[in-house]
């Protein structure tokens, strides 16, 4: 069943399915209903990290090194934990600056340098070519294997002509497929929604296929995972796979973890899916755990498959890189084998498509376009529409990159295992780390520093990893590695300057990073950043801050808006440019954008549109070609940045001030409310006072008029009237005195004479003072006063005023017959208590509060005659409260009332202190 035709048809159908998904994804995106606006799809698209290296190569590595394949997946897991700020910063920066590739990112950070962008592109292409050749090699050898069924070894001729080589045709097919996929049209943001959807689907397919083989090997060929390990452990040859240290050192382990962690950030295809294709920052959240989970699952069966293959094919000399495919084939499971082949194809196509699209964008924007635009002979600046050229360059770049991959495969491919080739690429992209991470967190990095660092790291990488890989395959003499170039021992590529004891990857990592970071930092520090570098540094380093100066703040000059529109139109196509500028005009409510003089904002907008299509460095150069710019000096840039940070400070200050103001306003409002309330109380008080004053005045006036108008009044009546006048006058005097008293106490102007007071003496004196009243009304008075009481700190006269007030009230309300008043004084709870109890009518519950208010008396004011001024109790309560005490009433109507006050004693400490 597994003839070549069947395999080819199955592969073609699968690729057609992918294309259909991509097409659907693009259509949906055009309709504004994105299918990839989903955190799960985002995380799955990141799994483009798992290529045929993972799919076939991990098993090969596990067969040689046991768990040594794992660092490649542990590193990304750890880095994803940092994704919360590292990836977030990259995403936000890229979106704000319309960055579409890693070359663009670095070029843009260091002052939009075309030179730097070009260098990064060259490093990326040379570094990634081996990785692409790895995919070609894996697909080709798996194809050769499966069509050779039931033979388990591919007939490796190696020397066949190019046109008869499966790998060559696979490279061409993949190139055609990628061109169809990724460069159907030009997008200003370089986003490919359809591609992402297809890649996410491929991630599911490869995981399912690999899981199927894993389950098949573990539970069909063997009796579960325990059985498999038990058999492996019984084999002395396999025992060394069960430890790390037996066949690899911890330094290798660390280097690989570190490299893989950097790769997940800086591989062009990872940058593409993670940063450029990101739809929403919120999607990052789920990817932080879902992507590591994917890595976990796809690695679960690697060691079981490796052990299964080693046990089953012991001594048959079958390449461990092919176990995933040869195990189902050896068991005669043709369908499973076909599924596995398709899974491998998935892993390869996913990687090749995204990687070559990312690289082609870089080659076009950062390498070819800058060169073409500089070449005056081509007269490109006169061309009206260049968008066809951009597409052509990208398509050409895709083809060239895949053919380069094929070339590397022919030159060096057979000498290495899959993982070995991949690690060479990882080490190359790791060279971007200092310039990238340094650029995102250090303002001092300069273009020269980045250039020097990248160049130094890249040269060391070439010397210690790339050239030896050529040497290994016989393209360079073998003694280049074993004896060093020209026999110079110190320059041996794998033991540079005599450094031995490290594997070749760790060795390269150490020397290249030493050179890279060293050159980056030292050269950066040779001079201060220029104006352009400083302004870009702010855009990148402060990317996560909420307010930072926008790019337009750092541009000064004049430009003709019509020329800008035409310029953008040349690269995006006139129609797209018109649409984009019309949108801008709508946003800023401009009538005709083409006629106005362009302001800094519009220039910045045009530049960012261009940056999406041709990269930030070229965009800068093109805008500069149509605008009359006044270059800003470093001092001016610094001023603008300082101003911005001052503005930030001011706005924070303003925020604080406004909060304070709000608090003050609330306080004022409360105070105003209180004042209004007091005002109302004062009005009430005045009304009450006038009323109280009028009553005695009326009666005084009435009796005086009688005496004046009627001289014949009998002497007896005359005396009675005069008596009333005198007593009403006394009442008036008392009332006025009490009002004054009350006013003094309330305003805090009363004079208090605080001294030691013996409350018992006060009560006795008060009783003596009121004894005449009691006798007049024939009310019995009983005293129950405790002995030997501690002294109080209070005003003696005021205390007497309180007690006398209570006594005279009690006498007033005691019944005329058998009236009785009890006075008690006792000590308890650190307080002195005085109660004055009468057996009068009592006070209704609803009146018990009211009687302490001014001019309010118990009972029905309409029917009973008022028997006091209505100020006595309020004054008494004020006095008691002034000394920290309490005055209240307890009463049951019909059974008399009891007025009680308690006053706190001074603390013992104070007593002894005196």
């Amino acid at each position: 069943m597994l003839q070549g035709s069947v395999v080819v048809v199955a592969s073609a159908l699968y690729l057609a399915l992918l294309f259909a998904v991509a097409y659907w994804g693009d259509k949906r995106a055009d309709a504004g209903r994105s299918v990839i606006a989903n955190p799960t799809i985002y995380a799955l698209s990141m799994a483009v990290y798992c290529t045929t290296w993972t799919y076939y190569g991990s098993v090969g590595r596990a067969s040689a090194m046991g768990v040594g394949f794992l660092p490649i997946y542990l590193g990304p897991t750890l880095v994803m934990a940092l994704g919360g700020f590292l990836l977030l910063k990259m995403i936000r920066t890229a979106k704000a600056n319309r960055i579409t590739s890693i070359a663009d990112f670095i070029a843009s950070r260091y002052g939009k340098s075309q030179l730097l962008g070009g260098l990064v592109t060259i490093i990326a292409v040379i570094g990634i070519v081996p990785y692409i050749s790895l995919q070609l090699k894996a697909v080709a050898s798996s194809y050769d294997l499966i069509v050779g069924y039931p033979v388990l070894k591919a007939v490796t001729g190696g020397g066949e002509p190019v046109l008869a080589d499966t790998t060559f045709w696979i490279a061409l097919i993949l190139a055609a497929f990628t061109i169809l996929f990724g460069t159907r049209h030009l997008d200003a943001t370089e986003r490919h929604e359809g591609m992402v959807a297809a890649v996410a689907l491929e991630s599911v397919v490869k995981l399912a296929a690999f899981g199927a083989v894993g389950l098949f090997v573990t539970y069909s060929l063997y009796d579960g995972i325990g059985d498999l390990f038990a058999r492996a452990l019984a084999d002395p040859g396999l025992q060394k796979l069960m430890t790390v240290s037996a066949d690899g050192s911890y330094s290798t382990w660390f280097s690989l973890t570190f490299l893989a962690g950097l790769a997940i950030l800086f591989l062009p295809r990872q940058f593409q899916v993670t940063v450029v294709e990101n739809v929403s920052e919120a999607h990052l959240k789920r990817a932080i755990w879902l992507f590591p989970l994917y890595l976990f699952l796809i690695n679960l069966f690697v060691l079981p498959i490796a052990l299964g293959g080693l046990l089953r094919f012991a001594g048959e000399g079958i390449n461990a890189d092919t176990f995933v495919l040869t195990l189902p084939m050896s068991a005669g499971h043709e369908l499973l084998a076909l599924f596995v082949f398709v899974g491998g194809l998935s892993a390869a196509t996913g990687m090749v498509i995204v990687e070559t699209i990312a690289l082609s964008t870089m080659v076009c924007n950062d390498l070819v376009m800058p060169l073409l635009l500089r070449t005056r002979a081509l007269a490109l600046h006169a061309e009206r529409d260049l968008s066809w050229l951009l597409l052509a360059i990208r398509r050409g770049a895709i083809l060239v990159i895949l053919l380069l991959g094929y070339l590397y495969f022919r030159l060096a491919g057979d000498a290495y295992a899959l993982v070995g080739i991949g690690l060479i690429s990882f080490s190359a992209v790791a060279q971007f780390a200092p310039a990238m991470i340094g650029g995102m967190y250090w303002r001092g990095g300069t273009r020269d520093g980045a250039l020097a660092g990248l160049l130094a790291g890249f040269l060391v990488w070439t010397y210690t990893l790339l050239l030896p890989s050529f040497s290994k395959s016989g393209w360079l003499p073998a003694n280049f590695v074993s004896d060093g170039p020209f026999g110079i021992e110190l320059l041996k590529p794998h033991q540079l300057f005599g450094l031995s004891g490290l594997d070749d990857i760790s060795h390269c990592l150490f020397w290249s990073f030493a050179a890279n970071i060293g050159a980056y930092v030292v050269v950066s520090l040779l001079r201060a950043p220029t104006a352009a570098e400083a302004s870009q540094a702010t855009q990148f380093v402060d990317a996560l801050k909420t307010s930072r100066p926008v790019g337009s703040a750092l541009w000064r000059g004049s430009a003709d808006a019509g020329e800008l529109v035409a310029l953008v139109g040349r690269f995006l196509g006139p129609a797209r440019a018109e649409t984009a500028f019309a949108a801008y005009a709508r946003r800023h409510q401009l009538v005709d954008i083409g006629r106005a003089e362009a302001d800094a904002d519009l220039v910045h907008y045009a530049e960012s549109l261009l940056a999406g299509a041709i990269g930030s460095a070229s965009a800068r150069a093109m805008v500069a070609s149509v605008a009359k710019e006044e270059p800003l000096s470093l001092a001016e840039v610094m001023n603008i940045l300082d101003e911005a940070s001052q503005l930030r400070t001011y706005s924070r200050e303003l925020e604080r001030k406004s909060k304070e103001l709000e608090a003050a306003t609330a306080e004022l409002k409360a105070a105003n409310d209180r004042l209004l309330e007091l005002d109302r109380l004062k009005d009430d008080f005045m009304a009450s006072v006038s009323h109280e004053l009028r009553t005695p005045l009326t009666s005084i006036r009435a009796f005086s008029e009688i005496l004046r108008d009627d001289p014949k009044t009998a002497l007896q009546d005359r005396e009675r009237f005069l008596g009333i006048i005198v007593s009403e006058t006394e009442r008036l005097t008392r009332l006025v005195n009490q009002i004054l008293d009350m006013a003094k106490i309330e305003s805090g102007n009363a004079e208090w004479l605080v001294e030691d007071v013996d409350l018992r003496a006060v009560v006795e004196q008060s009783v003596a003072a009121t004894s005449q009243l009691f006798r007049d009304r024939d009310v019995a008075l009983t005293l129950d006063l405790a002995d030997a009481l501690p002294v109080l700190r209070a005003d003696r006269d005021r205390m007497m005023q309180v007690v006398i007030n209570l006594l005279s009230n009690a006498v007033k309300f005691a019944p005329p017959v058998a009236g009785r008043v009890d006075v008690r004084l006792w000590h308890g709870d650190g307080q002195l208590h005085v109660s004055v109890t009468d057996n009068g009518p009592g006070i209704r519950a609803e009146d018990q509060k009211v009687i302490f208010e001014r001019f309010r008396q118990g009972g029905d004011a309409m029917t009973s005659k008022p028997t006091g001024t209505g100020l006595g109790l309020p004054i008494s309560r004020k006095i008691v409260e002034y000394f920290g005490g309490r005055l209240w009433v307890e009463s049951t109507p019909g059974q008399g009332a009891s007025f009680i006050f308690s006053l706190p004693l001074p603390t013992t400490g104070r007593e002894t202190g005196e």
């Binding site: 046991g66 768990v67 794992l70 660092p71 542990l74 897991t77 750890l78 880095v79 994803m80 934990a81 940092l82 994704g83 919360g84 700020f85 995972i225 325990g226 390990f229 038990a230 452990l233 025992q239 069960m242 430890t243 790390v244 240290s245 911890y250 382990w253 660390f254 973890t257 959240k285 789920r286 932080i288 755990w289 590591p292 989970l293 976990f296 679960l300 060691l303």
Partner: protein, 78 residues
């Protein structure tokens, strides 16, 4: 904003934990020719530690999200 900062710090802590768990010398403690439930010790350890790290990531990321969401709901209801 406060919560986001907290989540980031928690994630960074998990990163440090992972660096320690997945490297020498802790790795060497489990790098022995022994078995756990029939599995080689280092294999069992690495996958168990990996699973723990992933579970921590899930917990930190999703929990933060849920509390934020419920807070928003409470505020909306109030």
């Amino acid at each position: 904003m406060q919560r986001a900062m907290l989540t980031v710090q928690r994630l960074a802590t998990v990163f440090l934990l992972g660096v320690i768990l997945f490297n020498y010398p802790v790795l060497a403690l489990f790098d022995k020719a022994a078995t756990v439930l029939g599995l080689p010790l280092i294999f069992a350890y690495l996958f168990a530690a990996w699973a723990v790290v992933i579970l921590l990531l899930v917990w930190i990321v999703e929990r933060g999200e849920h509390t934020e969401r419920s807070e928003r709901r409470e505020r909306g209801g109030a």
